[in-house]
């Protein structure tokens, strides 16, 4: 029931927020905040209360699950389940959910009720994606995410919002339909082979398939996750959608929705289609590296601050793709940590860009400059998250990217070298952003207010989380490790490419068990 509550609380709160309407804006904000905080504490309760199950990895594959009949005629069940991997991402969802409510506290003043309803519903969809282990339910949640996010962009977005929203919707819907066909092909093949028609994740693992069929079906899944992550060259919706969305929308898009793509790769693509994924790994890893370099390169040349941050996502999430398809313990742990830390640091950067825009009504780097003098605390925060983004040791992003490269190095050295060059590029764009916006003389004579207490709270929490994850990443590894081990155990071979990873290729958290 706990898992149902995770979904039901934000969904119902969304209805309440909508019902409260625009006149009782304060009440709407508090209801929304309460719902997201409640979800956060439920997640925390699972984390703490089931600490032993989470860490020891008992025989039962899930920490908690809910399994009820839904559409028995087609073998569809309402099956939610949580393991360490889902738990980590759900905690991230709740954390960034709180932040996105707080950061729109003064930004959104019109149609407050419907805005918060959409925030809550998109979070419901995302949590549903992380919990669903029936493939029909998963696809259902996957599609449910779209509509509220579309509304967030098209109603509260910036200048080019209609174009961006429709592009976002069509890209994700088209790729989603390809995944639907793939899911159904898998369902039919499994049914033909075993006689039981089911969408159950655990049952569909190890479905016998011909190599060609496996490759095609895997590509259907790959398409959906590649658009979401995004993988070069399917990323073109991302800069538009991120730039035009309101701040909270960008935070959720970058911080959470992109993670559903990474989650899909880890949970579905490789375990369901190990042989095809093995053969496809070189291509995927090359695409990952291209994404890393391309995203960083394009980010460097942006003049719109928000677009710049959007392109850095393309770069950072290239590491996730690289890590997943390297498929060893180190790289996978790195990919998960990278997802979490990218969510926090990029979410924070979008919040900062939103704060600048609220004060200056522009995102144009050319019109900025010398802001440090005008707002030292805001600028200091920007510097901090820019450094996190470029991979400063001691902060979470560094650990994630480092582990991915360490894991990839065992598999393919050349790609690792190119990925490392991507980190160098990150230094360029991050420092250029800081220089152009914050340093120099305040030629445009900006006078803007500095951080307000609410913003202190948001950014303080995010700073603390990043430092904590940078210094003590085991807290994540301990929870996600057993889940990843189990997922890896499904796949008949480790180290998806040339040499098998040495058996001691364990991260500290994993080895200490």
């Amino acid at each position: 029931m706990t898992l149902v509550a995770l979904l039901l609380i934000p969904f119902v709160a969304g209805l309440v927020a909508w019902g409260l309407g625009d006149r009782r804006a304060r009440a709407v904000r508090w209801v929304t905040l309460a719902a997201v905080v409640a979800d956060f504490f439920i997640g925390l309760a699972i984390w703490v209360g089931h600490a032993s199950e989470v860490a020891i990895a008992p025989h039962a594959p899930w920490i908690l699950e809910v399994n009820a009949a839904w559409i028995p005629e087609l073998g569809i069940r309402f099956h939610l389940a949580i393991d360490g991997l889902s738990l980590v991402l759900i905690m991230l969802t709740a954390l960034l959910g709180v932040m996105s409510v707080l950061c729109s506290w003064t930004e959104i003043t019109e149609r407050v009720g419907f805005f918060h309803a959409n925030i809550l519903w998109v979070l419901t969809g995302i949590i549903g994606v992380f919990l669903a282990v029936d493939l029909f339910l998963f696809y259902f949640a996957w599609e449910v995410m779209l509509v509220p996010m579309y509304f967030l962009i098209v109603i509260w977005g910036h200048e080019d919002r209609v174009y961006a929203a429709i592009k976002f919707f069509i890209f994700t819907q088209l790729s989603g339909l390809l995944m639907l066909v793939a899911i159904l092909a898998l369902y039919v093949m499994h049914g033909r082979a075993t006689g039981t028609y089911t969408f159950e994740y655990a049952a569909l693992l190890n479905t016998p398939m011909s190599p060609t069929a496996e490759m095609w079906v895997m590509l259907g899944f790959f398409a959906a996750f590649a658009v979401k992550l995004p993988v070069f060259p399917f990323h073109t919706w991302l800069p538009d959608a991120h730039t035009e969305a309101p701040t909270a929308g960008s935070v959720i898009l970058a911080g959470l929705m992109l993670k559903t793509g990474g989650y899909g790769f880890i949970r579905f693509v490789v375990p369901l289609f190990p042989h095809a994924a093995y053969r496809f790994a070189p291509v995927a890893m090359i695409l990952g590296v291209i994404g890393i370099l391309y995203g960083a390169f394009v980010a460097f040349s942006q003049t719109d601050l928000k677009r710049l941050v959007a392109y850095t996502s393309v770069s950072h999430l290239g590491f996730v793709l690289l890590g997943v398809f390297a498929w060893n313990a180190l790289a996978l742990q790195g990919a998960v940590l990278q997802m979490v830390c990218h969510g926090i640091s990029t979410g924070a950067l979008f919040i900062l860009v939103g704060a600048f825009q609220e004060r200056m009504h522009t995102r144009d780097l050319g019109r900025m400059g010398g802001l440090w003098a005008a707002a030292p605390r805001l600028s200091g925060m920007t510097l901090f998250f820019a450094l996190a983004s470029l991979g400063l040791p001691g902060l979470g992003d560094f650990i994630g990217e480092f582990l991915v490269m360490l894991g990839t190095f065992r598999v393919d050295r050349v790609l690792t070298v190119f990925a490392a060059i991507g980190i160098l590029f990150a230094t360029f764009y991050a420092l250029r952003m800081v220089q152009r916006a914050l340093h120099g003389a305040n030629v445009h004579n900006w006078t803007i207010s500095d951080l307000m207490p609410r913003e202190w709270l948001i950014l303080g929490v995010l700073v603390f989380s990043l430092i904590f994850l940078g210094l003590h990443p085991q807290s994540i590894f301990r929870v996600s490790g057993p889940a990843l081990d189990r997922i890896q155990a499904v796949v008949p071979f480790t180290g998806a490419t040339v040499q098998a990873a040495p058996t001691d290729a364990r991260v500290p958290g994993g080895a200490s068990r």
Binding site: Y139, F140, E143, I170, L177, V188
Partner: protein, 482 residues
């Protein structure tokens, strides 16, 4: 020879025709719009109840012409239910028009009777009779608003094209009869024994001509030319009727008698594959070019018939069920979308410009919400019937491995999303809220329309979230049939 026992299964259809007569008599006594609509609604409601009541007495072959079985009754229920919804939507709509509205309530049950006759027919004669009853009533319905030029034009266009397609259909029947010597659908498969029979020129020509006639009513490519003009010209509730009842009836017949498994690889299968792909492509692409909401929905309905044909092509138990589910979802959704158009229309013209919907959500959240939900259902977004329908269709397609059609379906649905979203964008637009809204936007909702739209929205969510009960029903109706 019809016995009393034969009459019981026919009770629903008899009640529908009695409704038309009762309205006619009522009008002769006194012209009252309200009384005519009320009698019509009660009559249709009673026939719906009758369908439920005669369930224990079926299946039953009544003369060689009519077969009443679960399948036929399910489709009859769809037709009569949709007609009832159209009646309730028509009452406030036609009350605002200058024309005398009462005869509408004779034509609607007459057309519904034609539709019911088609889905219950087991013989060329009853099929053709039903088709003509439906068509003739539709000529009057489409051109009902004689004050509007577009309506007359649409009526004439439909008259000419429907008459010629009916001629093709009759000629096709004649050719088949000449070759097989029977007009009973059920006896035909037995007469086609050898493989050569499937390539008999006379027979193929007959089937091709019949497909032409049926394809016209279904408005699938290349027989779709009339659709946008008729949809645009006809009064909104009647457009809903054309889009749902007339197509639903013909599709029911198609599903019952024209199913062919993909493995046979016959030429009919190939023809339907081409028609399905062409309908999906043309419908979705041409809708992109439209600026008129009714025309957009017209092209979208062409595309949706294409999706239906994918399920039809998938064949087998799964394909037939998926097609029936999809048709049900399509009827509910289309009625809802045109229902909102009808509610927003006024005496002079229909609310068919996208501008009519700009910012509607901020003025009439419930009405715009219903429209948005209907559009999302047409686009196949979760929580709606359209989503599960599309899922079911793809399931059927995947199990029959018709990958090319599925690919076309996937790509064209993504294209189609664009024009649905255009209307949704307008519904939620915030830019011109300062301007005074049109009077039709502020008019309170009539109780009849309110009930229909609420019910349709409810059904839409029910089918989208918990479709298991309906799937169970649909499973039952195919038990004796395949």
């Amino acid at each position: 020879m019809i016995t009393a026992a034969d009459l019981i299964p026919l009770a629903p259809s008899i009640l529908v025709s009695l409704t038309a007569i009762a309205v006619m008599i009522a009008i002769a006594i006194r012209r009252s719009h309200f009384a005519a609509a009320l009698i019509c609604a009660i009559g249709l409601g009673l026939s719906l109840l009758a369908i439920w009541a005669v369930l224990p007495y079926v299946p039953r072959q009544v003369t060689p012409l009519i077969i009443v079985d679960d399948f036929g009754l399910y489709y009859s229920a769809l037709i009569i239910g949709a007609t009832l919804a159209v009646v309730l939507l028509s009452y406030p709509y036609f009350a605002r028009l200058p024309d005398p509205p009462e005869e509408l309530y004779i034509l609607l049950p007459t057309a519904a009777f034609g539709g019911v006759a088609i889905v219950l027919s087991s013989h060329f004669a009853s099929f053709f009779l039903g088709l003509e009853v439906l068509s003739v009533a539709l000529y009057g319905l489409i051109a009902y608003t004689v004050g509007r030029e577009a309506s007359i034009e649409a009526g004439l266009k439909y008259l000419v094209l429907a008459a010629s397609s009916a001629a093709a259909l009759v000629f096709g029947m004649a050719l088949i009869y000449a070759r097989l010597g029977t007009m009973e659908f059920a006896r035909m498969p037995a007469l086609l024994t050898t493989r050569a029979d499937f390539y008999d020129p006379l027979l193929l020509a007959g089937v091709a001509l019949m497909i032409t006639g049926i394809g016209f009513k279904l408005a699938v490519v290349p027989f779709h030319m009339w659709t946008p003009d008729v949809y645009e010209g006809a009064p909104a509730p009647i457009t809903a009727f054309v889009a749902t009842v007339s197509k639903g009836a013909l599709f029911g017949l198609l599903l019952r008698y024209f199913r062919e498994s993909p493995s046979s690889g016959g030429s009919v299968f190939l023809v339907f594959t081409i028609i399905a792909a062409a309908s999906m492509i043309a419908g979705n692409v041409l809708a992109l070019l439209q600026n008129n909401v009714k025309r957009i929905l017209a092209y979208s309905s062409i595309a949706h018939l294409g999706y239906l044909l994918v399920a039809f092509q998938a064949g087998g138990m799964l394909g037939a069920r998926a097609a029936t589910f999809y048709l049900t979802a399509y009827i509910v959704t289309t009625l809802g979308a045109f229902g909102v158009v009808a509610v927003l229309s006024d005496g002079s013209r229909d609310a068919d410009r996208i501008e009519d919907y700009r910012g509607l959500f901020w003025r009439r959240p419930a009405l715009a919400g219903v429209m948005a939900i209907m559009l999302f259902s047409l686009a196949g977004i979760p929580l709606t019937a359209g989503f599960f329908g599309k899922f079911y269709v793809v399931t059927a397609g995947a199990s029959s491995a018709i990958w090319m059609l599925l690919l076309v379906l996937v790509v064209t649905s993504a294209v189609g999303l664009y024009y649905y979203l255009r209307i949704v964008v307008a519904l939620f637009a915030t830019d011109d809220l300062a301007a005074a809204p049109a009077a039709s936007v502020l008019r309170p909702l009539h109780a009849g329309s309110g009930i229909v739209l609420t019910a349709l929205t409810g059904i839409l969510f029910w089918l989208g979230v918990y479709p298991a009960p309906l799937i169970e029903v649909i499973q039952k109706i195919f038990v004796g049939l395949l």
